[in-house]
């Protein structure tokens, strides 16, 4: 890890022990703080997200997981009275720099939400939406992308005969996979997922988890979940958050078997949360 001890973070060095990816880090969250008006929601968080790996964010609800995740693609920008300090660097470029184009930034990061939110359009229009807003109208490119993305999202076989049907006619699990297909259609580098399975039944959840395992390596995935088994199943690294702070960030195995922090220990063993 590259941080200077003591000066900018209160996080203990030994609480940081992630598994390193082959390609280095993609996102560096550096001493990041966030306030909703006067209320501080994130406190001096510093972690580095490894490229190509799956990183899970766990923690009791209200601890700031979504807030942190939504800071990464600046979805919080719209909230009034919000301000931040510290940096988040994507490929060593601070995303809060004034010359950063938010729209371009968001295009580099796909996002999947807690509740499936397909647009009220056809299945294929949903998937090609990120391309169409880029002004791409070439039917061949669009249909290729639709097929590729749906295949990546393991949805192609189920919908290939009804691409022109309304997306709202799909089941919840299918809708969520459609949203994943949409999120990866524009070929992002990072995939942000905020509790993508919490509104789904166990079968659909399994499918999504399988899908995440398949997408590993192609995208750097950050997934928020309050389901610890899920985190254990899909992620390489896990960050445990509590009251707006990342308490421990490390290899998933280690976090769940022999965590170094007492708070992490209490949480993963179900003593609170």
């Amino acid at each position: 890890m590259t941080e200077q001890p003591g000066t900018r973070t209160s996080m203990d060095r030994k609480m940081v022990h992630p598994q390193h990816g082959a390609e280095g880090t993609i996102l560096d969250i550096d001493n990041f703080c966030l306030w909703y008006g006067l209320k501080q929601a994130l406190f001096n968080n510093t972690i580095s997200v490894e490229k190509g790996l799956v990183t899970a964010l766990i923690g009791p609800s209200g601890c700031g997981k979504s807030t942190l995740l939504r800071s990464l693609n600046r979805m919080n920008d719209l909230i009034e009275g919000l301000h931040t300090s510290g940096e988040i660097r994507l490929d060593n470029q601070n995303i809060f720099d004034s010359h950063v184009d938010v729209i371009a930034l968001r295009k580099r990061m796909g996002m999947v939400f807690q509740k499936p939110n397909p647009f009220p359009m056809t299945i294929s229009d949903n998937v090609s939406y990120p391309l169409k807003i880029d002004g791409i109208r070439d039917r061949r490119i669009l249909s290729e992308t639709v097929e590729k993305s749906l295949q990546s999202a393991a949805l192609w076989d189920e919908v290939k005969d009804r691409l022109k049907d309304n997306a709202l006619g799909l089941s919840g699990g299918q809708q969520q996979r459609l949203c994943i297909a949409r999120a990866i259609a524009a070929d992002p580098e990072v995939l942000l997922m905020d509790e993508p399975c919490s509104a789904l039944d166990p079968m659909a959840t399994t499918k999504i988890e399988d899908l995440i395992n398949e997408l590993r390596g192609r995208y750097s995935i950050i997934i928020v979940t309050h389901n610890m088994q899920q985190a254990a199943r899909v992620s390489d690294n896990t960050a445990f958050m509590y009251l707006g702070k990342i308490i421990e960030y490390g290899k998933t195995d280690t976090i769940f078997t022999k965590p170094r922090s007492q708070q992490t220990q209490d949480y993963v063993t179900g003593r609170f949360g």
């Binding site: 693609n73 979805m75 719209l78 729209i103 371009a104 968001r106 295009k107 990061m109 796909g110 996002m111 939400f113 509740k115 939110n117 397909p118 647009f119 009220p120 359009m121 056809t122 229009d125 939406y129 990120p130 169409k132 807003i133 880029d134 022109k164 309304n166 709202l168 949203c179 949409r182 999120a183 524009a186």
Partner: protein, 537 residues
């Protein structure tokens, strides 16, 4: 609950009265005790309280009969027609005055283009040199002769309206061209004279043509005069008129059911497609249908972008704060302002101010006659748009607010800009709600009449707002409107009894027109719903 029942009853009353109005009735010939004879269609019968003096004068037997009936006598209203002979066309007849009544087969109803209906018998038919008096021969020759007369009338009308009207239009144009040149002021004498000469040349050409056409029309009219029909009422007062002055003629007492139905539908057809006659109490309402429709359409075209854009701004772009709340309250209050106030505003602002400026800039040569500086269909549509814009804004805002936040986030997370999100996700999702607002606005606007009376509705419009003369849509023209037509016929005409059937039929038509416009808007809305779901953008 009671309200719904009352509305239903009211609708049934209108529909029933509207539907039966055009069905032909029998003609009764009534012999009165006084020895007089009269003929007419019975309209309605009612009982009334008879005053004691009249009662005293009645024969005892009649008196006894009335006494048992609580001093009430019955009387019937007859439509006698023949206004030109009697100076009235409706007459009350008290039951005890009637000696006997019957329905002789030779009675005919003649619907005339002037003076209203004639009720009586045909005495002879003049077809050019030929004169026919035999009743059987008259009835066998009449239909053909009448059709030919109609053709002649149409030809004359075409000539007068299109060709002579066109020449008048050109002459007016030449006069205006000349005036425009003189108004420019900085002209030299030579150009002025040139313009004057050009004007004189055009006018004299046109005048020549005009005289030719008028001569032609005179010949046609003289020819038309030779085909006439002689009629007599029950008291043998006679009346002769041109065959081409007859709209419809039928022997009311010998019609089969099929023939009655035929007359019924031909009257509906006339009502829907013809222009009004006789101070609007007869003929059709086509200009009013047309005016209502065009005005409502114009209003929707104006109100949609304004309402939707205002709502988009208020809901999506403006910073939600005290100012926006204030604007919202104002918009809601606007919906409660009495509509006549809008009329006054429309007249003062649109017609007099905006229209006045437009006239002085664009059409100075026509002054002092106003072009835009008076009521017209454009100002009426704008006034109504103002009146209905709150409805659209409120409905659109609600529809926008109902679009789930997660959809917007989904779109923004895809890297869409705010406007793209609105255009591709929010608006399509809100479209059904917006259309509902437009439908409400349309329903309100189409039935509104008070403000229109100030900004361009007239009793009788000389020209339709759309015609074949460039630029085809004449938004400055005054127009007719069904709702105003109802008011005018029902309450402003010389004879409210004559207008009554028209009131019912026109009301029925107005309600149907609004229903049709709403139904088609709902249809479009549902189509849109489906199209946006299949999302071809």
């Amino acid at each position: 609950m009671i309200g719904i029942l009352m509305i239903a009853a009211f609708l049934i009353l209108i529909v029933w009265n509207g539907l039966i109005t055009f069905y032909p009735k029998q003609i009764e010939v009534i012999h009165l005790n006084s020895g007089k004879v009269m003929a007419g269609e019975p309209i309605r019968t009612e009982s009334f309280k008879i005053d004691p003096q009249t009662l005293q004068k009645l024969p005892t037997s009649v008196r006894e009969a009335i006494k048992t009936g609580d001093v009430h006598a019955s009387r019937t209203l007859y439509k006698t027609g023949n206004f030109d002979l009697y100076n009235e066309d409706y007459r009350w007849v008290t039951a005890f005055d009637i000696k006997r009544s019957d329905t002789p087969p030779e009675m005919v109803i003649v619907e005339r283009s002037e003076w209203g209906p004639f009720i009586g018998t045909i005495t002879q038919l003049e077809l050019g040199e030929e004169t026919i008096v035999d009743p059987a021969a008259i009835f066998s020759r009449l239909p053909d002769a009448h059709r030919e007369a109609n053709n002649r009338r149409d030809a004359i009308q075409r000539l007068e309206r299109n060709e002579i009207g066109g020449i008048n239009h050109l002459m007016e144009k030449a006069r205006l061209d000349l005036r425009r040149v003189t108004l420019k002021g900085d002209m030299t004498l030579a150009t002025l004279q040139a313009a004057q000469q050009k004007h004189d040349r055009i006018i004299s050409d046109l005048q020549k043509r005009y005289q030719e056409l008028e001569h032609q029309a005179d010949i046609m009219k003289a020819e038309d005069e030779r085909f006439r029909i002689a009629l007599a009422d029950v008291e043998n007062r006679t009346k002769t008129l041109k065959l081409s002055g007859i709209v419809r003629i039928y022997p009311a007492n010998t019609l089969s059911e099929w023939q009655k139905l035929g007359i019924y539908f031909s009257r509906w057809w006339e009502f829907l497609t013809a222009e009004p006659r006789e101070a609007n109490t007869e003929g059709g309402v086509m200009p009013a249908i047309f005016g209502t429709f065009t005005m409502t359409l114009l209003m929707v075209i104006v109100v949609t972008p304004f309402g939707v854009m205002a709502a988009l701004y208020l809901r999506e772009y403006a910073k939600q704060g005290r100012l926006v709340s204030l604007v919202r309250i104002c918009v809601n209050n606007l919906a409660g302002v009495p509509s006549i106030v809008y009329g006054v505003f429309g007249l003062g602002f649109f017609a007099y101010t905006v229209g006045g400026i437009m006239d002085s800039v664009l059409f100075p040569e026509r002054l002092p006659n106003p072009t835009f500086g008076t009521g017209g269909i454009l100002w009426a549509a704008l006034t109504l748009a103002l009146l209905t814009v709150p409805v659209v804004i409120v409905a659109t805002e609600e529809a926008l607010a109902a679009v789930p936040h997660s959809l917007r986030e989904g779109s923004l997370a895809c890297g869409a800009s705010r406007w793209q999100t609105i255009k591709y996700v929010v608006l399509p999702k809100a479209m059904p709600g917006i259309m509902t607002g437009l439908i409400l606005a349309m329903a309100r606007g189409a039935g509104e009449v008070a403000p229109l009376m100030l900004v361009g509705v007239v009793k009788l419009a000389p020209e339709l707002p759309i015609d074949g003369i460039f630029p085809f849509l004449h938004v400055e023209r005054s127009f007719m409107h069904l709702a105003f037509h109802i008011f005018d016929v029902g309450f402003q005409s010389r004879n409210s009894e004559a207008g009554k059937p028209m009131v019912f039929v026109t009301t029925l038509l107005l309600i149907s027109l609004i229903a049709i416009m709403n139904a088609s808007a709902i249809y479009i809305r549902n189509r849109l719903k489906r199209r946006y779901l299949s999302g071809h953008f």
